[in-house]
Symmetry: C2
């Protein structure tokens, strides 16, 4: 997906939020915004939004000197998600379609996104998403691909959401490789966060090799790309990964909540819709 | 009021909205955002937000070549407001406190603000604001000053809102001078808009002498400043004028709806509160 004009003011807002997470020093944050502003002219609209995000969060790290401004909030989101785990497992146990319920729960976890600046209440959001209609619902194709697959590459998105991913992985009942960001960026899931979420008990964890807040093939390392190309099935979580992967040539299933109007327009759904979309299937 | 860090991404969003009003040419709008971005470093936080707005809307005019991107929408807002005028006059006729009802109606008109990017439905908003509690309510002082005043300077804000201002001016029952922007900026009221709203029938109309989307003493002309200093009572409408005038030394009564969290924080009210605040009274 390309960068839309609306993404540019949003990038400034993201820099402000990340700057505030990293420091209380107003002058430093102003310096950060000045610097991001000066970079605007070097951001082509042909970039995917997370490529631009990569540039911006690098600048946040450089100017504030803080490598992981979201560290504490990520830990607390993971702990909150873990505390909900037994109840969510019980919801799945009682449900008629365990796989679909697990998909809904994994999408519900996608509200834990500190990039988009929307407030969320995870318990309420789960309740809503368990009953919500899908904007796009390629569930039958998902099941067909899953039945045939012997290897699944599952691309994670946010820390905390990763606990909900574990729940879906447990229902896939196939060998899964879980992909994390190479270094901390926004509240995206890293190796350390994935382990704290218990993913290591249900999947192999690998890095995308990229610092971008999404999987963007051009920025990922060879090891990842080999696995990406070879996997029988790819499941991609969240907006950022959709932005980075929506134009690839292989089949991918995207699970996300459309949290901004730009993504919603691109997907031809309404803002806040939940989406299970397969491409090249 | 100073510029807050939150104002900077908001300025980018405003430039995007104004750019889109002026042209469909995506490249031109990108050029505009690049240019606004590059200017960030020259915008000190000590500026009032409308001083920064002045710089930004000058750039909109320069890059798009369109002097009044909001012209059509201003005309349509004025027409819609005029169509409501008889009904609003009837509401005042029936009300126990005609002055207070007219103040509420004048504040309701302040939702017609295309700078802040909030959606509004003028009929619904009037209904709500006629019953809404005030966040700040210096009504008694307002009445005291009004009773003693022989000259009132009434600083307008937006086109369309100006029709609602006319209704309040009719209830003030004192000689009023109505202040408009010198040239079109956002959807702010100009001389032409004020006449289209019928203000010329109830007040003398003068320009602030400034192109900024607010009255900022340093940017206004001498004629205006003389009248500003000499008036027995000054009534100021809207956020922009509050931002520009909140630190002046003379008495001013501000009538506004707090449409963004930065203003709400500065006023110590909640977002969307309605405000009748006097300073130096």
């Amino acid at each position: 997906m390309k960068t839309f004009l609306d993404c540019l003011p949003c990038m400034m807002s993201q820099a402000l939020r990340a700057g505030r997470m990293a420091t209380d020093d107003e002058k430093k944050i102003k310096e950060l915004l000045d610097s991001i502003g000066a970079m605007m002219k070097d951001i082509p609209l042909e970039n995917t939004p997370p490529e631009t995000g990569d540039i911006i969060y690098k600048e946040v790290r450089k100017i504030t000197g803080v490598d992981d401004p979201y560290k504490k909030i990520k830990e607390s989101n993971i702990q909150e998600a873990i505390s909900l785990y037994p109840e969510l497992k019980e919801i799945i146990r009682k449900s008629d379609n365990k796989l679909l319920t697990a998909i809904r729960i994994a999408i519900a976890g996608n509200v834990i996104d500190l990039g988009v600046g929307k407030e969320f209440n995870i318990v309420e959001d789960i309740r809503k998403i368990l009953k919500q209609e899908f904007g796009i619902f390629d569930f039958n194709e998902f099941v067909k691909h899953l039945e045939k697959a012997n290897s699944i590459l599952y691309i994670g998105d946010n820390a905390g959401e990763s606990v909900f991913d574990k729940i879906l992985i447990e229902e896939l009942k196939k060998p899964v490789t879980y992909v994390v960001r190479d270094i901390p960026v926004i509240n995206d899931v890293t190796y350390e966060d994935a382990v704290a979420s218990g993913i290591n008990k249900v999947a192999e964890i690998i890095s995308s090799g990229s610092s971008a807040p999404a999987v963007i093939p051009e920025l990922c390392d060879e090891n990842f790309m080999e696995k990406f190309n070879a996997a029988d099935m790819v499941i991609s979580k969240g907006q950022g990964n959709y932005e980075g992967l929506s134009n690839v040539e292989r089949s991918v299933f995207f699970l996300l909540k459309a949290k901004c109007h730009v993504i919603a327009n691109d997907l031809n759904v309404k803002e806040d819709d939940i989406v299970l979309k397969g491409i090249n299937i």
